[in-house]
Symmetry: C2
Subunit: 127 residues, 2 copies
DNA sequence: CAGTATCCTATTAGATACTG
DNA sequence: CAGTATCTAATAGGATACTG
């Protein structure tokens, strides 16, 4: 999501810092797939059908700048570019796993659209 | 971030689902503070100085709609509203902890602005 | 194949003022 | 105190066309 700038809760928001890095619309997915191995640009596209070329490129660049993804360009023709996780990127495995596991439970417990119970009503007599 | 809509990788992106729910600019922080106990609106503001009133309200509403936060309104004057995590919200504890822990290491390993090594250079002779 | 370049829309967030 | 209402600015994201 490239919120890498303004971040003044100086050295106090590791939670936000992590979300800044992995919180783009497709970054979770990209990381998830790269955790299973090196992939070429086109292979990533196939695994994430709804991402546009532009967004995939952009997010990969951001992940690269964050030091999580390595971009290996082979000087061939046709060109070949392989993406893989850096050692630091690999350390995200546990985090992604936690997100995935929680999400599975959350999606399981929740019907797609609960259509809000009634909105704004939860009053108690003051004590 | 309220990307709760378009989400067609039907039942396949629990990672994204989780990020949709906790990925707002301030949601991680809000959740983090509420994990330590019930807080009033104003108390949350003090703990997250840079959030605007509007954003805090909005994110709290979204978290409430996601079923993670409970909003308790006391019919007093001056008004008092307390926010706490629902049981489902509590289940996020491990996730937030993982984000926090990873973020601490990440921030520790990374100087604020590495000023990019040289940009776009990582070629290898094709094999 | 693996991108860039443009253009454009939608979503998010911030500032400021007002209120039950 | 705990919000709403407006208005505006900044970003993120998408569509499409073109290229080394």
């Amino acid at each position: 999501m490239a919120r890498h700038k303004t971040y003044d809760c100086s050295s106090g928001c590791p939670v936000s810092a992590t979300l800044d890095v992995i919180g783009g619309k497709w970054k979770g997915l990209i990381l998830h797939h790269l955790l299973e191995g090196t992939l070429r640009f086109g292979e990533l596209r196939k695994r994430i059908p709804d991402v546009t070329q532009r967004m995939l490129t952009q997010h990969l660049r951001e992940l690269e700048e964050s030091g999580l993804v390595h971009r290996q360009v082979y000087a061939e023709v046709p060109p070949r570019v392989e993406y893989s996780l850096t050692p630091q990127g690999q350390t995200l495995r546990g985090v992604i796993a936690a997100l995935k596991s929680w999400g599975e439970t959350y999606l399981g417990r929740k019907t797609p659209e609960p259509a809000a119970p009634k909105r704004r009503l939860a009053v108690a007599s003051g004590r």
